[in-house]
C-alpha cells in the first residue's frame, strides 16, 4: 500500500550530527543513490576544525548538505528544505539555516539531559515549542536501530548503536524514493572483513526504509524526476579528486613523470593522499619536512625533467614564495596548487575563502611575474589542472592553480571527458646546441619567449643556472644595468604574452547594462544568482575569469562594454583592485568574508539593487 507521492523539482537535504555519527558517509551514500537516479546534484560537506571535539559538543558537529534536482543546478543551495539532526548540538548549530515551514527530522533518543546541556539548551527544544514553525518528525533512531539489530552475532551494543546513521539513510531513501542497492553493495564490500558489521548496517538501512513505509510518521513521499543532463557517462567527484586526476592526466598528456612535493595541510592534504595511491601511473609523492622543501623538491624534479608540482594552502603557500621566485628566475616549469582557506594566519582551516589572489600575484621579492589559473567548480579542477600544467610546460614557468576549501570537498556530477579529446601538452627537451656548437640556456623561443629545457643526462648541453641575475642568451651571471632592465622586461613580457582563451560573456539578449564579473570558485553561486535575477525579469551579464594572469585579451573590452560592473568575491575586493588598476573602470565589489560559499540569493539581491539603481 504505497503512500501518495508528491512531485518536486528540487530538494536540499542537510544531514547533521556528531563527528562520530558518520554524517559524511551518510551524505555521500545518499548522494550516490541520487546521482544514479539521474538527478543533477551539488554537495557541500562541512566538518568541524581538524581535531575531534568531545562527543555531543557544538564544535563537534559535522554536516553534509545535498542539493538535487530535475534540472541542472549550480550550487549546494543556500538553505536546506530538510534537516536531519542526530543530536541537540546538531540542531542548535543548524536550525537557524532551516526556513520556517521546513522539514526537521530529529533523533529524539539523543535529546537527553547531558546532550542538551552540552549543546547549551536549558530546556529541550522538542518540548518548549521553539520548533513550532517547522514540520518536526521525532524519530527514536537509536532505539529503533538497536531494536532492529537484536540478535546479530558478534555485534556490540555500541556497534549496533553506531549503525543509526544507516537507519536514517534508509528512511530518507524511502522518503525520496531512492533505491538502496548501491548503498547495500557499498556496505557489503566496505565491511567484507567483518560480515556481522555489514549485516548490521544493511539491517539498519532496510529497517529505516521500512519504518518510513509502514509507520504513520510520514504521510507522503516525494519524487524528483531525473534531470535532463547532456548525454554521456557521469561520476560524482570532489574538487581535490578532480585536481589529482587532472595532474595525472597532464603527466600522461605531457609524457613526463609526475612528481608531487607536499607537506600536509588542510584542505590540501587529500591531494597528496589521493596521488600517493596512483603509483602505477609513475607518480612520485614526496611528503617533505616542510613547505619550502616540498616546493624545492618539486623544482629539483622539474630540473631533472619531471612535471614538478607542489600543493598547499595559504599558510604553506606563503612559505614557498622564495622557491617560486627561484623557479621563475630559472624559468623552469612548476605547478603550485593553492587550496585557499579562510585566513589570515592560521584563520579557519576548514573554511573556504578567495583571499590569496593578490598574494600569488605579488607575494615575491621584486618583479616576479607568475601566471595564475583558478578552477571554477569541483569538476573544473580537472581541466584547470591540465591548463596550469600546459602553461607551465610550454612557457617554462611556475604557475599557480587556485582552488578553495569549498571546491576541494564539494562534489558534483562530472560528465567524463573523452580522453582522446584532451589537449596534447607534450614537450621537447633540448638535445642539440642552439647557437653554432654552443648551448645558450637563455636563448629564447621567438614566439613564446620560453628558454630551452635541457635536462641532466643530455650530453654536450651541460650548463649551470641560478638565482643571480643572468645575461640574456648565455645565462651567465651578469650585473650589467641594461641587461637587468632587459631581463626584467623579458620575464614580464613572457607571462603577459601567454595565450589564454577569450573571456566568454553570458548575456542572453546581449543588452544587459550590468556585468557581474567573478573568478574561480564562486562560479556556481554567481551563475545561480544571475538565473534568479533573470527569472525575476531583469537583465544581467555574467563573465567568469579562469585566467587571472594574464587576463584574457578581451577582458578590457568586456568590462568597458557595460555601464556597471559588479565583482563578487569571498575577500575584501582583490580582483576588484586589479580590474580597476588595469582598465580604469569604476567597478564595485560585493564582498563576503564569512568562510562560507557566497549565497546565490544574496548575490542576486546585490545584482538587482544595481540593476534597479
Amino acid at each position: 500500500m504505497g503512500k501518495p507521492v508528491e512531485q518536486l523539482s528540487q530538494v536540499i537535504v542537510r544531514f547533521a550530527g556528531d563527528s562520530g555519527d558518520g554524517m559524511q558517509l551518510t551524505g555521500s551514500q545518499f548522494t550516490s543513490e541520487t546521482a544514479l537516479l539521474g538527478n543533477d546534484i551539488s554537495t557541500l560537506p562541512d566538518f568541524p576544525a581538524e581535531i575531534r571535539a568531545p562527543a555531543g559538543s557544538l564544535p563537534g558537529v559535522s554536516g553534509f548538505q545535498l542539493h538535487f534536482a530535475d534540472h541542472d543546478i549550480l550550487t549546494p543551495g543556500d538553505a536546506p528544505n530538510v534537516l536531519v539532526a542526530m543530536n541537540p548540538a546538531a540542531l542548535k548549530t543548524n536550525i537557524k539555516d532551516l526556513p520556517k515551514g521546513g522539514t526537521l527530522i530529529v533523533n529524539s533518543d539523543a535529546f537527553n539531559e547531558r546532550n542538551l546541556q552540552k549543546a547549551g539548551y536549558a530546556e529541550s527544544p522538542l518540548a518548549d515549542g521553539s520548533l513550532d514553525e517547522y514540520q518536526v518528525h521525532e524519530v527514536p533512531l537509536t532505539t529503533l536501530t538497536v531494536g532492529a539489530l537484536k540478535g546479530i552475532e558478534g555485534v556490540t551494543p555500541r556497534e549496533a548503536e553506531r549503525s543509526k546513521n544507516m537507519f536514517a539513510l534508509g528512511l530518507m531513501s524511502w522518503l525520496y524514493g531512492r533505491p538502496t542497492d548501491a548503498t547495500e553493495a557499498f556496505l557489503t564490500s566496505k565491511f567484507a572483513k567483518r560480515p556481522e558489521i555489514a549485516e548490521a548496517n544493511l539491517k539498519a538501512l532496510r529497517a529505516g526504509y521500512a519504518f518510513g513505509e509502514t509507520t504513520e510518521t510520514f504521510a507522503i513521499t516525494y519524487e524528483v524526476k531525473p534531470a535532463k543532463l547532456a548525454p554521456g557517462t557521469y561520476r560524482n567527484i570532489t574538487g581535490n579528486q578532480a585536481l589529482s586526476y587532472g595532474l595525472i592526466a597532464a603527466s600522461k598528456l605531457a609524457g613526463l613523470p609526475l612528481f608531487l612535493g607536499a607537506y600536509p595541510i588542510t584542505p590540501a592534504s587529500s591531494i597528496l593522499e589521493e596521488l600517493a595511491s596512483y603509483k602505477q601511473f609513475g607518480v612520485r609523492t614526496f611528503q617533505a619536512e616542510d613547505e619550502i622543501a616540498a616546493a624545492g623538491a618539486a623544482l629539483g624534479a622539474s630540473f631533472g625533467g619531471a612535471l614538478g608540482v607542489t600543493t598547499s594552502a595559504g599558510p604553506g603557500i606563503v612559505l614557498k614564495a622564495e622557491t617560486i621566485g627561484l623557479a621563475m628566475q630559472l624559468e623552469l616549469p612548476l605547478v603550485i596548487c593553492d587550496i585557499q582557506r579562510a585566513g589570515p594566519s592560521t584563520g579557519m582551516p576548514t573554511k573556504p575563502e578567495q583571499g590569496d589572489l593578490l598574494m600569488v600575484l605579488f607575494g615575491r621579492n621584486s618583479e616576479s611575474p607568475v601566471p595564475v589559473v583558478a578552477a571554477m567548480s569541483p569538476s573544473d579542477c580537472f581541466h584547470a589542472a591540465i591548463e596550469a600544467c600546459r602553461i607551465a610546460l610550454k612557457y617554462r614557468t611556475p604557475v599557480y592553480l587556485l582552488s578553495d576549501a569549498y571546491l576541494a570537498n564539494g562534489s558534483e556530477p562530472w560528465l567524463l571527458p573523452d580522453v582522446a579529446s584532451l589537449p596534447d601538452i607534450s614537450v621537447t627537451f633540448a638535445t642539440q646546441p642552439n647557437d653554432g656548437d654552443a648551448f645558450l640556456p637563455y636563448l629564447r623561443d621567438d614566439e613564446t619567449l620560453a628558454r630551452p629545457w635541457a635536462v641532466p643526462g643530455t650530453p654536450g648541453l651541460e650548463h649551470r643556472i641560478g638565482g643571480l641575475e643572468k645575461a640574456d642568451r648565455t645565462g651567465n651571471v651578469s650585473y650589467d644595468p641594461d641587461n637587468h632592465d632587459l631581463m626584467t622586461r623579458l620575464r614580464a613580457q613572457k607571462v603577459a604574452g601567454i595565450e589564454v582563451p577569450e573571456l566568454e560573456v553570458d548575456d542572453p539578449d546581449g543588452d544587459a547594462s550590468v556585468l557581474v564579473l567573478g573568478w574561480g570558485g564562486t562560479y556556481g553561486p554567481i551563475a545561480a544568482a544571475c538565473r534568479r535575477v533573470r527569472n525575476n525579469g531583469r537583465k544581467v551579464a555574467h563573465a567568469h575569469l579562469r585566467h587571472l594572469n594574464p587576463f584574457p585579451r578581451n577582458t578590457g573590452e568586456v568590462v568597458r562594454r557595460y555601464d556597471k560592473v559588479l565583482i563578487p568575491e569571498m575577500n575584501l575586493g582583490q580582483l576588484l583592485k586589479l580590474i580597476r588598476a588595469e582598465f580604469l573602470v569604476d567597478a564595485v565589489g560585493y564582498n563576503r568574508v564569512r568562510g562560507l560559499p557566497l549565497r546565490a540569493a544574496e548575490v542576486a539581491e546585490a545584482i538587482e539593487a544595481l540593476v534597479d539603481q
Binding site: S32, A35, G38, P226, L229, A230, P231, G232, T233, Y234, R235, N236, Y245, K252, P257, G261, Y278, K279, Q280, F281, G282, V283, R284, F286, A288, E289, D290, I292, A293, G296, A297, A298, L299, G300, A301, S302, F303, G304, G305, A306, E322, T323, L326, L330, L416, P417, V419, P456, G457, T458, P459, E462, H463, R464, I465, G466, G467, L468, N476, V477
Partner: protein, 329 residues
C-alpha cells in the same frame, strides 16, 4: 675518458686570493674523471655563499639555488632521477644555519646525495659574521663583544640525525680528501663530508692546527678496521672509557680502539666526533661512519614497480571511470 680539464668551465673563478675553496675545487676536478661517470650525468647543486659558487666552476649540470635549500632541491632531483650522480656543495651557514632542517632530513632519509660542507666557521659571502660552527665568544662584525652561541659539532649533529656516511677532510690535504670523496661516491645513499676550509679574509687560520700540521702531530687519521694510532711517531692512541667518553692513551695500550666505521650502532662514531683539538689535542679526519641502509630513491622506484606489477601501468581512461558512474543517453 675525460680529464681534469674537461671539468673546468669558462667562468672566471671568483674567490679571494688564498681561499681554501680553490684547493677543494682542484681536488674535485682532478678526482671526477676517475669516477667514470659521464659529465652529463653529474649534477652539482648548491645554496648561497662563497662555497655555493662551486657549481659555476664544474663543467657538469649545476644549480646555484637559494640559501639553505640545496638538500631539498637535490632530494627532488635525486629521487626522481636515480640515474644521476648528485652532489650538494654547501657552507657552514648554508647547511647548518638556514638549511639545518633540510640537511638532517635528507640524511635520515638516506637520499642518494653526496653532501660536501665547506666549513670555514664564518659567513664569508656576507663579509664576516659568525656562523653556527664559530667558537663561542668569537668576535665578529655582528658580535663585537663575542658570540653567545654554543656551536654545533657538525659530525655529532649529523650522526644524531641518522646519517649513514660521515667523514671529514681538510681543504689542502688532496690525497686525504680524494680518499674520502671516493668512499662517499661509492656509498649508496646520503654521504656527508665536512671539509675544513680556510677563509683567509674573515677567519684566517681557523684550522691551522691541522692544515699546517706537517708532522701530522694533530691529525688523527681514522682507518676502518685499524687501531686508532696517531702522533708524530704514532706513539698515541685513543681508547673508550667505561663512561662512554674517549681519552688519549699510549699507542700500545691494550684497550686502544679499533676503528669500526661499519658498526650498526653509531655510538662509537659519535664518541669519536667528540674528540677535538681543544679537548684531546688531536683531530680525527677520514671516515667516521659508513653503513648500508635502504636508499630513498630506490625504495621510491620499488614502490612504483610493485604497484605497476600489481595493477598494470596506469590507464587514464580507467582512472576517470573508476568508482560509481552512470550514463545518460
Amino acid at each position: 675518458m675525460s680529464t681534469m680539464r674537461d671539468y673546468k668551465t669558462d667562468q672566471e673563478v671568483r674567490w679571494c686570493p688564498g681561499c681554501g675553496d680553490y684547493a677543494i675545487l682542484a681536488a674535485m676536478q682532478s678526482f671526477m674523471p676517475e669516477l667514470g661517470i659521464e659529465r652529463e650525468r653529474t649534477v652539482f647543486v648548491s645554496g648561497i655563499g662563497c662555497a655555493a659558487r662551486f657549481p659555476y666552476y664544474m663543467n657538469t649540470y649545476g644549480m646555484h639555488s637559494i640559501h639553505g635549500r640545496a638538500p631539498a632541491i637535490a632530494t627532488g632531483l635525486a629521487s626522481s632521477r636515480p640515474d644521476l650522480s648528485v652532489w650538494v656543495v654547501t657552507g657552514d651557514g648554508d647547511a647548518l644555519s638556514i638549511g639545518g632542517n633540510h640537511l638532517i632530513h635528507a640524511l635520515r632519509r638516506n637520499v642518494n646525495l653526496k653532501i660536501l660542507l665547506f666549513n670555514n666557521r664564518i659567513y664569508g659571502l656576507t663579509k664576516g659574521q659568525y656562523s653556527p660552527t664559530s667558537e663561542i665568544g668569537k668576535v665578529t662584525k655582528s658580535t663585537p663583544m663575542g658570540s653567545l652561541d654554543w656551536p654545533f659539532n657538525p659530525l655529532s649533529l649529523v650522526i644524531g640525525a641518522e646519517a649513514t656516511f660521515v667523514a671529514r677532510a681538510i681543504d689542502t690535504d688532496k690525497s686525504g680528501m680524494t680518499d674520502v670523496l671516493r668512499a662517499a661516491a661509492a656509498h649508496k645513499g646520503s654521504a656527508f663530508v665536512e671539509i675544513f676550509q680556510n677563509c683567509p679574509i674573515f677567519n684566517d687560520d681557523a684550522f691551522a692546527f691541522v692544515r699546517d700540521d706537517k708532522e701530522g702531530v694533530n691529525r688523527i687519521i681514522l682507518r676502518d678496521g685499524e687501531p686508532i694510532r696517531w702522533g708524530a711517531d704514532l706513539e698515541k692512541g685513543l681508547r673508550q672509557r667505561r663512561d662512554g667518553s674517549i681519552d688519549v692513551c699510549a699507542a700500545d695500550d691494550q684497550d686502544v680502539l679499533v676503528h669500526d666505521a661499519r658498526h650498526p650502532t653509531p655510538s662509537l662514531a659519535f664518541a669519536l666526533s667528540r674528540v677535538t683539538q681543544e679537548t684531546h689535542g688531536g683531530t680525527p679526519v677520514g671516515m667516521f661512519r659508513n653503513v648500508e641502509r635502504p636508499v630513498y630513491d630506490e625504495l621510491m622506484a620499488e614502490q612504483i614497480a610493485t604497484a605497476t606489477e600489481k595493477l598494470g601501468a596506469g590507464d587514464l581512461e580507467a582512472l576517470l571511470h573508476s568508482g560509481e558512474t552512470w550514463t545518460i543517453a
